[in-house]
């Protein structure tokens, strides 16, 4: 299988708009048109089999919407998602494709039905996809619970009998019970305490190497993302602004937004040191700025940035959408790095 013509999971220029218009009568009275919220606005990436792509960004950047598009919980407004070379179709139409992907949600208190026993929660995908029934299904439940470090005896209990970390293990067991190949994890540890977060992150890494899983990992926490990712995509206002191998991104962040984001994270080692926070806030995706969406907060912005939307382009191993980087006016030692590479 060549990666080039057949990426395992791919998003091709996907977009998702939400109609946030006021009701028709009010629109007619006020003589205004429809209003669209561009939650995701032209995002392209692929994820090779067995690897992890993380999407990071601040609230409202569209990362969770991308997660839902990738498993078909939302339909794309334009563009397409392909899974193992085949376009992602409607949910009921293609069960064979659907059973190969699963999702883990952020809040283990909200994502488990409190009235169901763990046995039924974990068996739900198995039954829904018609993979097994009766004792076979229960055997799968026991196996899935064992995989996530719980006991098969826990199947009899209800969710309230478990702590937050154990509940997230149940969510993972549910996702694994139908033996998927691709897992979309939307902030799987952000509702958890840090010592428990470490348990869950370790578990997810173990499962990946044992089962060869492919992850799309959504998080706002850069430190968490660094621990789990092969590649990292940085999103801003519905667009991908940078996409690079994890270590490259942390060693040489290119996009001014990525650099600002890293600068802003409070770090343990920086005890007492002053920082220069980026000014302003993420603008509204209903009325995004023209040109590059980051230009109102960017120190490097010029007339071109305000007028023309930058396209993704290669800079070393990094894909970055920034006129300043492309024109070499980002003040980064990019030319030096290139020179060293060519010498």
């Amino acid at each position: 299988m060549t990666v080039l013509d057949h990426p395992f999971v791919a998003a091709n220029d996907i977009a998702r708009y939400f109609d946030v218009s006021r009701p028709l009568v009010q629109r007619l009275v006020a003589r205004e048109g429809r209003r669209l919220l561009r939650a995701v606005d032209g995002v392209t990436f692929d994820i090779p089999r067995g690897t992890t792509l993380s999407l990071v960004g601040e609230s409202g950047c569209g990362k969770s919407t991308v997660a839902r598009l990738m498993v078909g919980l939302y339909r794309t407004s334009s563009g397409e998602v392909t899974f193992d070379g085949k376009e992602l179709g409607a949910a009921r139409a293609d069960m064979a494709q659907r059973r190969r992907m699963q999702m883990i949600f952020q809040d283990p208190y909200a994502s488990l039905n409190p009235r169901w026993r763990v046995r039924d929660i974990v068996a739900e995908p198995v039954r829904a996809f018609g993979i097994a029934s009766g004792q076979d299904a229960l055997d799968r439940v026991g196996a899935a619970l064992t995989q996530v470090g719980l006991s098969p005896l826990d199947a009899q209990k209800f969710p309230h009998e478990f702590s937050g970390g154990q509940r997230q293990r149940i969510s993972i067991a549910r996702a694994l019970s139908s033996s998927p190949e691709f897992l979309v994890c939307d902030e799987p540890t952000s509702a958890l305490d840090v010592s428990v977060q470490a348990q869950i992150l370790n578990l997810m890494k173990e499962l990946q190497s044992r089962l060869g899983l492919t992850y799309l990992f959504i998080s706002h926490n850069l430190a968490v993302v660094r621990q789990v990712s092969d590649r990292i995509g940085v999103m801003y206002l519905g667009r991908l602004v940078e996409n690079a191998p994890a270590e490259t991104l942390f060693r040489t962040p290119r996009h001014p937004y990525t650099r600002a984001l890293m600068e802003a994270v409070p770090d343990l080692s920086m005890s007492g040191q002053p920082r220069t926070p980026v000014g302003g806030e993420v603008p509204s995706p209903i009325n995004p700025p023209t040109g590059c969406a980051f230009h109102p907060r960017c120190a490097l912005a010029n007339a071109r940035c305000r007028a023309e939307r930058p396209e993704m382009m290669m800079a070393g191993e990094t894909l970055v959408a920034c006129h300043a980087v492309q024109e070499g006016r980002d003040g980064q030692p990019q030319s030096i790095i290139r020179a060293k590479g060519t010498v």
Partner: protein, 321 residues
């Protein structure tokens, strides 16, 4: 310098049908003017409860069962509601996690600021309005004079949290209790708010109790840190010592389980198990059953805070007796 806030042997209980739950047990610490004390711990450890007890807003049936809280040498834990209400606002400002629940959605932010100031300070409404604009400018709200009559919903999340901070500060309290002030904010906004809080402590000598689960925020902001576990202080000391070289096995485990930003590790250090629930706190040291260094005494006798080099830790490893 004399302590501005002193908490002595504080015990908070919740009577329930199945018996009395002890949410805080023997908590003691002090904060000096201009000092920022960070309180960290996992959910349920009692950090927010400590803040609520200090500002006199414990949710019933919670009650202070033992111990005392002194502000400027005066007991405030046993004051009648009306008197405590005056202290809250005038002498102690509170900042909570969610700015939407702190602000009244029906009043403009200007009215809320003016009301707070005219209630607590000997000034009239015109002077209060003038100062309100000044406070909004200080917390970094652009065009404050125009935005003072806007309502909370007209501000974005980060701006709203700034309004809450302005509201906590406008009566010029000596102490600010900030409970997860940046948790609901994005990192870039969080950095702005932290910078603001630090400047206040430095420039105005305001003391601050900063409750958060985010160790990064603590490392950048606090002077000293108290680590809480199951309703007690496990360790308290200078921020550099706690973050870099904690003495209590729980604090050091907690610090090591934080994913590092500056490098990738194959496997994160994890603390197995979970913090016990209030109705199932084990005898002896509450951390004993999860502690890698546990020995016989820990499972029987409960350790109090004792000297552990530059910090004080509630751990029998540091017992010299």
């Amino acid at each position: 310098m004399a302590a501005l806030l002193e908490v002595r042997n504080l015990r908070v209980e919740f009577p329930t049908r199945r018996g009395i739950l002890t949410a805080l047990d023997d908590v003691s610490f002090a904060i000096e003017p201009g000092e920022i004390l960070g309180i960290v711990g996992e959910s349920g450890a009692g950090k927010s409860m400590t803040g609520a007890a200090i500002i006199g807003l414990l949710e019933p049936p919670g009650r202070i069962a033992r111990g005392e809280i002194l502000l400027d040498g005066r007991r405030i834990d046993n004051l009648p509601y009306a008197e405590m209400r005056h202290i809250r606002g005038r002498q102690i400002g509170a900042i909570f996690q969610d700015p939407l629940t702190t602000l009244n959605p029906l009043y403009s932010v200007g009215r809320q600021l003016v009301e707070t100031m005219t209630t607590h300070l000997p000034i009239g409404p015109d002077e209060a309005r003038r100062r309100a604009i000044g406070w909004l400018e200080q917390v970094g709200i652009p065009a404050a004079a125009q935005r003072i009559d806007a309502y909370p919903h007209e501000f974005s999340g980060g701006m709203r949290q700034r309004v809450v901070i302005a509201l906590a500060l406008c009566a010029e309290p000596k102490l600010i209790v900030a409970d997860e002030p940046t948790t609901a904010l994005d990192v870039s906004i969080q950095a702005q708010v932290i910078a603001l809080l630090k400047a206040l402590a430095r420039d105005k000598g305001t003391a601050m109790m900063l409750v958060t689960h985010d160790m990064g925020v603590i490392a950048e902001t606090a002077d000293r840190v108290a680590v809480m576990y199951a309703g007690r202080i496990a360790e308290i000391g200078p921020v550099r010592e706690i973050v870099g070289d904690a003495r209590h096995p729980y604090s050091s485990g907690l610090m090591r389980s934080i994913p590092p930003l500056d490098r990738r590790v194959d496997r994160l250090a994890q603390i197995d198990g979970a913090m016990p629930r209030l109705n199932a706190i084990p005898p002896g040291c509450a951390y004993g059953p999860r502690c890698p260094k546990v020995f016989d005494k820990c499972l029987v006798h409960r350790p109090d805070l004792m000297e552990a080099g530059p910090t004080r830790a509630a751990c029998w490893l540091y017992d010299r007796a």
